[in-house]
């Protein structure tokens, strides 16, 4: 199976590298940004293109790893041109129905991970959630998926939305809490790396203990003295205080619900 990748961002880059490592031939890499297209295409020994009309019929599978906002436009345009090809998109929150009806062989191929261009990830451990319109799309996704990951699962569009929501909580929002901690320390010229053992242990725990049981700290027992004092430390940062209070209340509410 030959593959063309539409997109050259974080996910496109990591996925492209994993595909190449599994000896797939990548034919073309599309990005509106010439530099991005060139960088990824060079890595994958593919042809870089910057106009969607330049996507040719040389691939069997077209994988879309682009922003949600442009995805419908791109699949519409290429779908009309190559209705017999296999079209896959990688967006957790986009349903299968985004593909126009003219496409018989299409599917969603959603790797559940946070990708950076520079961070090497071990794709074998990444769960890939697949949903296909027909058997041909399913088989292609199963083959591609299993060649790069040990964890390929079928899922409905409805369930996938919740997986994506859970991913936002456990990755983006978690990372923002790290960022908030970094800000607190930076303002006192304290180094962020003192938190590494704590950060590591916090995530290690939830591999064994449900996060409900793993909770510690002032919010779970709603220690008003500590909470008031800590809010005061952020007195120049209204949004920080608001978020601190809301998180503390929510933690306490969860704890009470589980008494």
């Amino acid at each position: 199976m030959k593959i063309t990748i539409i997109g050259a961002g974080n996910l496109a880059t990591c996925l492209g590298k994993a595909l190449k490592a599994s000896r797939y031939e990548v034919v073309q890499v599309f990005s509106r940004t010439e530099q991005s297209a060139k960088v990824l295409a060079t890595m994958l020994e593919a042809q870089p293109i910057t106009h969607i009309e330049w996507v040719n019929d040389g691939a069997d599978v077209y994988i879309f790893a682009v922003k949600d906002s442009v995805l419908p436009i791109l699949v519409e345009e290429l779908g009309k041109k190559y209705p017999k090809k296999i079209f896959l998109h990688t967006a957790g929150s986009m349903p299968l129905s985004i593909f126009p009806a003219v496409l018989a062989h299409c599917g969603v191929f959603y790797p559940l991970q946070t990708f950076s261009k520079t961070a090497e990830v071990d794709f074998r451990e990444i769960p890939i959630f697949i949903e296909g319109r027909d058997e041909k799309a399913m088989q292609a996704m199963m083959e591609i998926g299993q060649s790069i990951s040990d964890n390929v699962r079928t899922i409905t569009s409805a369930d996938r939305k919740y997986i994506h929501l859970a991913a936002v909580w456990s990755c983006n929002f978690v990372n923002h809490c790290y960022n908030r901690a970094a800000k607190v320390l930076a303002e006192r010229n304290l180094p962020f790396d003192v938190l590494y053992p704590l950060i590591d242990e916090t995530r290690r725990k939830v591999h064994h203990i449900h996060p409900q049981k793993a909770q510690t700290g002032p919010a779970v027992r709603y220690d008003e003295n500590v909470i008031a004092m800590q809010k005061e430390l952020m007195d120049t940062d209204e949004m920080g205080q608001e978020l601190y209070e809301l998180l503390s209340k929510d933690i306490h509410r969860f704890a009470e619900d589980h008494l």
Copy 2:
């Protein structure tokens, strides 16, 4: 140096075990809850006691690992009785000044970690922040600290408050985001463990990349479609929606500040 531990909770348990492993003799373990006192005292081959008046003068160092709310009462009571002993407390948010003036040798011994009675932690990696009233307390803390950890640092009460605030952000609030993710999945009968690779990678990244740069997902680019759709998925959970929105706004604001 002989040690008596006031408290038998998570921190007291983990610290007691680390002290015993470093061959310190633990004389007494105090907890109002008989069962807790007995469990920890048995582990440490110490005497379990359930009344603060039963704390004797057999130790050189008295370590308080109790709730912030009872700490002042306990140090007051024992301080009057044994003013020549070394008194240490372990509370991140409590200043050194909590100790009555009569105590010449006192200090704060704050291990920056989240402790569970059951989770084994490697104390050697845990940063311990110390602050002493006099040289004798400092020396005792340095000796005890370095015998269980490779990362003992001096700190002021003022800075320690910020360390503790950063710990709440990077541990308690992070854990709550995990808990929120677990709730989302549980409501659809989806397993939490599909998130492990994502959770692991999210924390792994911040060892190398500042969390500001590591951020991904819909909030950082404020993708209103995805944000609205995800909020809708939590339509029976007002607090969840509110928190989701506030976190998304804060992420976006941070991203704009760094453009």
